[in-house]
């Protein structure tokens, strides 16, 4: 606390703090979620809890609260010593339809600019083919039908855009089923049947199975800034397993437990085990894959996963409101197919902090602890003016995914050194030059 005091008085000395801000000796936090993994981590740091109306330094808010705070009507202006855990328009990344739209746009832009990343072959982007073919319904209905006719035997998955945790999801393998749905949705006179927007994606029907069971990966990604992009990957992700054997036969198409790996869905399945919650650590997945499939293919898979995350973030980095008070932890859902290719399924803005098992609680508590280590400057006081470059020792269980600032910095110093460097073949360089 001694350090905190001196840091604050220093700030006062240089007149950086608005005089309206009362002098505080203690960091305060506010939270919309009453979760022990949160409060215990805050209290461990000696922070004290205040209400949303009080003067807080650190707000762990729900999405709605954050949006309200940033809306013009609220008239709320944050001061330098305040941080909040969402970006105001995070939905560009986390809404299923917008994510798809943004990635499609990003790819087109790269292609138009002649960037090697946008190279296509056989109608597919070679380097950026990491989301299943997806359309927004009802808007893209005709495009969908065109695509559907190419492979009429495939299965598609329908998801409502605004919902999460597996709600409202169903599978279809017949166009007639969808036609009925679309006719009803387009009826303009009856507002009660106008359905919300859906995305329809080609179902990954060749998922990687372990012990005969399907799973998806949940990885946590922390973003502290979109321009320049600064993102971190939490090392302790996990795989969520279906309780039922994978089976694509017709009669199983309606058995949602076969297909959806969400814990919130699986918990209602009869075989849910509360000791492990159907979760296997990513470390053990890696051990299994390296042992049974080999090191090279496994390394490639994990490299591709990082590639996928970085480019999904780059796709939205220009349109995100890059407010300096914000940081956000996203839950990435990824499915691996049996050729060991990762597919991005969706991104969640408020990954669940509910702990279903003991291991889960430890993991989530570590996640929060590591987030705080990265977003809070070494002074221990939230500071929006900080350059957001944590010390390597503060990274905890995070590893740096990308830090564009550091990259530019390195590049500049390199340029200064030998004043001539052209390496157009280097893909990663090409990305950086885009801006």
């Amino acid at each position: 606390m001694e350090r905190a005091k001196s840091a604050l008085s220093n700030d006062l000395l240089y007149g950086r703090i608005n005089t309206n801000t009362p002098l505080k000796l203690k960091v305060t936090f506010c939270t919309d979620l009453d979760k022990s993994v949160l409060t215990s981590n805050f209290e461990k740091r000696g922070w004290s809890q205040v209400g949303p109306e009080d003067d807080w330094n650190f707000y762990w808010s729900g999405i709605q609260t954050c949006r309200n705070l940033f809306s013009l009507d609220s008239g709320y202006r944050m001061h330098d010593h305040q941080l909040i855990n969402h970006f105001p328009n995070h939905y560009e990344l986390t809404r299923k339809d917008l994510l798809v739209k943004n990635i499609k746009r990003y790819r087109k832009e790269l292609e138009r600019d002649g960037n090697p990343l946008g190279t296509k072959s056989m109608g597919k982007y070679i380097y950026l083919d990491f989301i299943p073919i997806t359309f927004v319904l009802p808007a893209d209905y005709n495009m969908f039908v065109e695509e559907y006719r190419k492979t009429p035997s495939s299965t598609w998955i329908m998801k409502p855009c605004g919902k999460s945790q597996g709600a409202g999801i169903f599978l279809i393998n017949k166009l007639s089923k969808l036609k009925r749905w679309s006719r009803e949705a387009k009826a303009p006179f009856n507002p009660t049947v106008v359905k919300e927007t859906y995305v329809i994606s080609k179902y990954i029907d060749n998922p990687l199975l372990i012990g005969g069971k399907k799973f998806d990966m949940r990885l946590y990604v922390l973003v502290t800034s979109f321009r320049p992009l600064k993102a971190y990957l939490f090392k302790q992700g996990f795989c969520r397993f279906c309780t039922v054997k994978y089976d694509t036969s017709m009669q199983e198409l309606d058995n949602i437990f076969v297909h959806l790996t969400n814990v919130s869905v699986q918990r209602h399945g009869g075989d849910y085990n509360s000791l492990h919650g159907g979760k296997l650590s990513v470390d053990n997945l890696r051990l299994y894959l390296e042992s049974t499939r080999g090191k090279n293919v496994t390394d490639k898979l994990f490299k591709n996963i990082i590639w996928l995350i970085v480019h999904s973030l780059k796709a939205v980095s220009n349109i995100m409101a890059n407010d300096k008070h914000c940081f956000e932890c996203y839950g990435y859902d990824i499915i691996i197919d049996n050729t060991l290719k990762p597919w991005l399924i969706e991104v969640n803005a408020s990954p669940s902090l509910t702990s279903t098992t003991v291991n889960d609680r430890i993991l989530k508590s570590r996640l929060i602890d590591s987030i705080l280590h990265v977003v809070i400057p070494p002074t221990g006081i939230p500071d929006a003016k900080w350059n957001k470059t944590p010390l390597p020792s503060a990274l905890g269980n995070f590893e740096v995914l990308i830090d564009e600032e550091a990259i530019t910095h390195n590049e500049n110093s390199k340029l200064r050194k030998n004043n001539k460097s052209s390496n157009n073949n280097n893909l990663s360089l090409a990305v950086r030059r885009r801006r």
Binding site: I210, K213, H276, N284, S291
Partner: protein, 547 residues
């Protein structure tokens, strides 16, 4: 000289006659005949060209490996039955207890030990063979026949008739009543010389630099060497390679080579046969097996994914009469039962269960770590069986064999006494026998206690040195590592709490630390920053300290 010649001659005769009885012999002979007809084998220089051709197509290696496996399995001295009468008696009494408890459970639940499977059940089981987790049986009345704890009580009660307990000794060394020879620490250091002389081992820091400038990391160097070793397909070389740790990506094949358990057509057929036998008869042991998988693997966050494979493997194992070969050199005896409604003659006597082994609580853990190595249940089965018939059966029988559980327990106690007297005394004066803290680790070969990857590293060493003595060394190492926290508590529950979570233990660096430095104290005197890098020692000790 003449004697030696005779003995070599006798061994060769035994070997050739045994070879002819092996399952591989027929195909090997056929392949050889085919080879002779090839143009590479010349009539003029028949012997040399044939030998050369055998070398070229790998048949020589196959023969060499077969002989290596034969020699390995005949290393046990000829007089293989338990020589000590009081241990033989103890094992017999223990077995009687197991059988009694099995029988009483059967009569309590009112079921038969064995019966033909009814058709509907047979069909259901066949349909669900690949997902036996949904095969529905009521197991609420079944309970494990015994747990490691019960077996430890049996071991602790054994007294050598030659030992007279002087009453005055309060601080009694519990295993002193059993004068079995175990290796001294010095002998162990010599035995595990690759580790104790400080060679670079895989399984320390993954990014450790190689001593060879041609490779960026030790892992890259070991992988390149390992690939060459696998190519030679020569079991003794592979075994030697494992001594310094095996890369994840090569382990599965390495183990198959060392154990000589490649899956070919015959092996697949035999596994299929075992499955059919399972479907044929409904044994009470099946329920115990299913129950055990449910109690252990299904509830374990590291193994639950593999539940279905484990049901298959464990059920087939119970029917495998080839496992009975262990009883020729084990102190145990399989249970014999007489077929119901038949006169008690030899023809009507059967072994129950067919493999002679009654599973205990946690038996499945002998197989679980293999799930990380093999996708194919058949290959998994044969590796598991090879491990069991070579090592694991010794972990649940009373015998004086140097690899038996008794010797391993004594080794643990002596090591702790020798390496950290203070800690040993502290545990003893708290009224706890040190072996109580680590017995279940040793009996389960650490499966389910260490993380899967660490178990695999440890089992690498079991195979490499062909010995279970690494288990007590590992146990004593972990106890030594947690010394600071152990000293602070003074009862069994406290000790167990300190030693409950081993998820952060890394096998290779810790073992090397102890075997190099000759002191357990070195573990807690590690420089503090090593906890940060996480490669050498886990941060757990610090956390423990707070308790």
């Amino acid at each position: 000289m003449a004697d030696l010649k005779d003995s070599i001659h006798a061994t060769t005769e035994k070997l050739t006659s045994d070879l002819k009885k092996m399952t591989m012999y027929k195909t090997f002979y056929e392949d050889l005949q085919k080879l002779v007809s090839k143009s590479a084998v010349k009539n003029t220089n028949f012997k040399n060209t044939l030998l050369e051709a055998m070398k070229m197509n790998g048949m020589e290696n196959e023969l060499r490996n077969t002989i290596f496996q034969w020699v390995r399995s005949h290393k046990n001295p000829a007089a293989t039955r338990e020589p000590l009468i009081y241990l033989r008696k103890s094992q017999a009494t223990w077995q009687k207890r197991i059988h009694k408890s099995l029988n009483s459970m059967a009569s309590e639940i009112k079921i038969h030990l064995a019966q033909s499977r009814v058709l509907s059940d047979k069909e259901e089981m066949n349909d669900k063979w690949n997902e036996l987790s949904i095969y529905d049986v009521d197991l609420s009345q079944y309970r494990p026949v015994y747990a490691p704890k019960d077996f430890l009580e049996v071991l602790l009660a054994i007294r050598s008739p030659n030992y007279k307990c002087p009453n005055v000794m309060k601080l009694q060394w519990d295993f002193i009543q059993l004068p079995l020879m175990v290796k001294t620490f010095k002998e162990l250091r010599n035995f595990y010389s690759e580790i104790s002389r400080g060679d670079l081992l895989l399984g320390n820091n993954p990014n450790m630099k190689s001593e060879n400038p041609n490779y960026p990391t030790l892992l890259a160097e070991r992988t390149a060497l390992g690939e060459k070793v696998l190519e030679t397909n020569h079991a003794p070389v592979t075994q030697e390679y494992l001594k310094k740790g095996c890369p994840r990506s090569l382990r599965a094949t390495m183990w198959v080579q060392v154990l000589g358990v490649e899956v070919k057509e015959n092996e697949k057929l035999y596994f299929q046969y075992l499955k059919n036998v399972v479907l044929q008869h409904d044994l009470m042991v099946d329920k115990l097996i299913i129950k055990d998988v449910q109690l252990t693997a299904s509830n374990d966050h590291q193994y639950f994914v593999f539940e279905d494979v484990l049901y298959q493997v464990m059920l087939c194992f119970s029917r495998d009469a080839e496992v009975l070969c262990i009883f020729s050199h084990s102190s145990a005896q399989p249970v014999h039962g007489v077929l119901r409604g038949k006169p008690p003659t030899i023809e009507n006597t059967v072994i129950y269960p067919p493999n002679g082994i009654i599973p205990f609580h946690g038996f499945t853990m002998y197989a679980t770590p293999f799930c990380y190595l093999y996708d194919d249940p058949v290959q998994l089965y044969y590796v598991f069986r090879a491990f069991y018939t070579r090592y694991w059966f010794r972990l649940h029988e009373v015998s004086s064999h140097p690899q038996g559980i008794l010797s391993l327990c004594i080794l643990f106690e002596r090591l702790l006494h020798r390496l950290d007297n203070e800690l040993w005394c502290h545990i003893k004066t708290s009224g706890v026998q040190p072996i109580r803290l680590t017995f279940k680790w040793i009996m389960r070969a650490f499966s389910g206690h260490l993380s899967p990857e660490q178990v695999l590293y440890l089992w690498d060493l079991i195979l490499a040195y062909d010995s279970l003595e690494i288990l007590p060394i590992m146990a004593v190492t972990i106890v030594g590592l947690r010394k600071v926290s152990l000293i602070r508590v003074k009862d069994l529950a406290g000790f167990e709490a300190v030693l409950a979570d081993l998820s952060s233990i890394t096998v290779m660096p810790l073992l090397q630390m102890v075997l190099v430095s000759k002191h357990l104290d070195s573990l807690i005197r590690l420089p503090k920053d090593t906890t940060k890098t996480g490669s050498l020692i886990e941060p757990k000790t610090k956390k423990d300290g707070k308790k």
